[in-house]
Amino acid sequence: MLDVVPETARVKTLRLDVPDWPGHLPGQHVDVRLTAEDGYQAQRSYSIASPPDRPLELTVELIEDGEVSPYLTEELRTGDRFELRGPVGGYFVWEPSRGGPLFLVAGGSGVVPFRAMLLQLASTGADVHATLLHSSRSWEDVIYRDELTELADAEIKVVHTLTRSQPEGWDGYARRVDSEMLTEAGPPPDARPHVYVCGPTPFVETVANALVGLGHDPATVRTERFGPTGG
């Protein structure tokens, strides 16, 4: 590991130097395997946070009773080594050549694969209109808040909703994602957007059902759920 960048109180980004990394597509994940001195092993999957042209980055949310995330976020130090397998997954991926419009809907740390997509989009300057709708508990919990705000321009639109608490003077959304918010924030079904939804299972269920209800073709809605067990 090269170094650690804190994102929020519970979320850190690990910058890694991976020998012989074969490259990846935004949206793919890796398997992390940790081995204890007595040979005991634990594996978990993490979405890749970085675009293909940068050192590999993983953004990890601390799950208090988890097994792997407390080690990655609290114990791991610069120079430490661990095993990675990947990149894995060929479905929940997007790269600029696939075109747009792109509609990304994230719950909490579900924003991680979207950071890779948006950073690549911004660096290639492709003519693709992208919208990120990001649901977080509070302003302090917004992962990549400053970084993605800086990315926003005529092509990239970033919309937040804060579900539990809002800073004073907040005039943005302050509720869970619903059909009305999806309609206001995102491209209409007629635009045939590529839609990606990532977050905890109940979030993804709700959002994906709402999108289909609004008339988005189910075949254009790609989902990635992470379960309550995490790790």
Binding site: Y91, E205, P218, R225
Partner: protein
């Protein structure tokens, strides 16, 4: 990942509840029932639902929901293993054995593709769904199967990674050659034996 790198300071969470020899390598036990799928949850009304056996068969078989539910069913208690690393022990299902659905079918096929609402597919060797190894399940824990867990009916093939237990299954296409399904063309193993760690291409 053959020669493990020791992770300094990593201890991990040992299990001491005796589930150890039922948990395949790289898996951990969960009491939850996580949901994983690639798209929105399809909802097919039962009066529009049917189950068909197509492909390399002497003649097509088809059951409506009522006909399917009138078939003899079995209660099954099995351990399940998801490629995303969780395993869940002693899960209780009710379903129709694939043996029952294929009873009397004449075929030269050696493989099949399960096809589903929402367009999902997965491939299996025919012998892996025969002789009491696979079911089309319609109940979990004594209740009708929730849509997010694959209801009204899903395939249940517990000896393989759980993506093979296709949700929202609507039929089986018997084939003479192996036709990779949805995850199998997207980087996941063609067979998927959890005890051999067959997660991805090349495992």
């Amino acid at each position: 990942m053959s020669d493990p790198i020791i992770s300094r300071g990593f201890r991990g969470r040992r299990r001491d509840d005796g589930g150890g020899d039922r948990i395949p390598p790289g898996q951990y036990e969960t009491d939850d029932f996580p949901v994983l799928s690639a798209g929105p949850t399809p909802r097919t009304p039962l009066d529009a639902w049917d189950f068909t056996i197509i492909g390399e068969v002497d003649k097509l078989r088809r059951w409506t929901w009522e006909e399917f539910r009138a078939l003899p069913s079995e209660e099954i208690t099995v351990d399940i293993h998801c490629v995303t690393k969780w395993s869940k022990l002693d899960t209780a299902w009710e379903g129709v054995a694939v043996d029952t659905l294929l009873d009397g079918v004449e075929t030269s096929a050696e493989y099949l593709v399960a096809f589903c609402d929402g367009g999902y597919t997965t491939n299996l060797p025919l012998e892996d769904v025969l002789d009491g190894k696979a079911w089309v399940a319609f109940a979990y824990d004594g209740e009708p199967l929730d849509p997010e867990h694959g209801g009204p009916a899903r395939l249940l093939v517990p000896h393989l990674y759980f993506w093979k237990s296709a949700k929202w299954v609507r039929g089986l296409k018997l084939t003479t050659t192996e036709e990779p399904g949805f995850w199998e063309v997207n980087g996941y193993h063609l067979y998927g034996d959890p005890w051999r760690g067959q997660r991805y291409w090349g495992d």
